[in-house]
């Protein structure tokens, strides 16, 4: 007989591992793009398999706990949140891979000046901070950290909106293909930011009910 507390403890560790894998994937993605590192870009594709495997494992763990333990209340909420967060993370990892594709497949590096102007580096930094906050919130069950992502997401949105005009203004100065890829990369990071925000909401939802009850 498996004890549900143990199952939930293990599930939490598995999801934390998923968080860390995806975080690493994004650090690699940023590195590949900002430093035009084609080797890292290739590596990202291969770590994608591990992330997919972890996603499937968490999925089937959730299914098993539901089938075997019929969880209710706080346990059920945790499992449903885990299930949603797991899929959101997988989606975010896909985005890291897809933005690194440019580096793997094209021979025109992103121009440093336009990277500066569009604030792509800053965007990656904010993204990584959001990720750190979520991991902190999830690991230590502290909704305060999850709440920090909302403001950061707004910053990411702003960078994304501004980028459009910057790219238009520079259309004649750079390789057009490179510029369009850059714009699409920024768009994708913005969407990944939205997913992080949703994860933040899930964590808060799951933890808040607990917090209210404990006080």
């Amino acid at each position: 007989m498996h004890n549900i507390e143990k199952e939930i403890f293990d599930l939490k560790s598995s999801l934390l591992k998923m968080f860390l894998l995806v975080e690493k994937q994004w650090k690699k993605g940023a590195n590949a793009i900002l430093n035009y590192d084609q080797d890292i870009a290739e590596e990202i594709s291969s770590s994608e398999n591990r992330i997919n495997a972890q996603e499937l494992k968490i999925d089937s763990d959730c299914e098993n706990i539901i089938a075997l333990h019929a969880p209710v209340a706080v346990d059920l909420r945790f499992i449903l949140s885990t299930y949603k967060i797991n899929h959101a993370l997988e989606h975010i990892a896909d985005i890291a891979e897809s933005i690194a594709q440019y580096v793997a497949n094209n021979n025109v590096p992103y121009d440093q000046k336009i990277l500066q102007e569009t604030r792509l580096t800053e965007m990656f930094d904010i993204f990584n901070i959001m990720m750190d906050c979520l991991i902190e919130a999830f690991e230590n069950e502290d909704p305060k950290f999850a709440r920090k992502v909302f403001k950061k997401d707004k910053l990411i949105n702003k960078i994304n909106t501004d980028a459009y005009q910057i790219i238009i203004d520079n259309l004649d100065k750079y390789d057009k293909n490179m510029l369009l890829y850059l714009l699409s990369t920024i768009r994708k990071i913005e969407r990944a930011g939205d997913s992080l925000k949703k994860i933040g909401e899930e964590i808060i939802y799951h933890l808040e009910v607990k917090v209210i009850k404990h006080t």
Binding site: A70, V72, A73, V74, L76, R77, K213
Partner: protein, 251 residues
Amino acid sequence: MKYKLEAKNIDVFYGKLKALNNINIGITENAVTALIGPSGCGKSTFLRLFNRMNDYIDSFKLNGDILIDDKNIYEKDVFVDELRKNVGMVFQKPNPFPKSIFENVAYGLKIQGIKDKEFINTRVKDALKQAALWEEVKDDLNKSALALSGGQQQRVCIARALAVEPSIILMDEPTSALDPIATAKVEKLIHTLKEKYTIIIVTHNMQQAARISDYTAFFYMGDLIEFDKTNTIFTNPKMERTENYITGRFG
């Protein structure tokens, strides 16, 4: 909102032991209310208040009011036999008498002094139909009830309770001695019965409470900790103690 049954400021003592502590609750008509909680918390004691079954216990003492249709059933002018016609009870272990199926179901009518055969036949048939047993036994009504399976025996007992046409049915762990198939039948039956009856059921099976009841009351050491819609109790209970109990974290 008006309730079918109400408990007001209920304290119950068995000698010096306080088995229930200031319970206040309103039970909705035509709904299933589940009573849950750890062993010894007072569920059966509470359930038995509604048909005055505790009256037989010498050390039993009650404070407070138990109302059925707004009438205090512990008042002097209440006839317990009349009360029990209105409030049927089904127990944990199927307890048919060593008589035929027919005699078992007709029992309550006969002790009421009803002699009209036609009337009794109709009532027995209706009760067996309501208990979802008619099709299985209609050709064998004279067979001993003891020769039936546990699940069938329990449905005979339910039919016996229904035959006198009560408006309330009390059930104390009615499926704990049954296999999953028989349990499923009784649960389905409870679900259909609530159209006509008000049902209170004690169960140790959390999933059963979640499946069949509309309201759930959680008792702990003689206190009513939480009472709410079953949906709320099993998704987002307000009290940590309830959450710990239903998720199986109870020391």
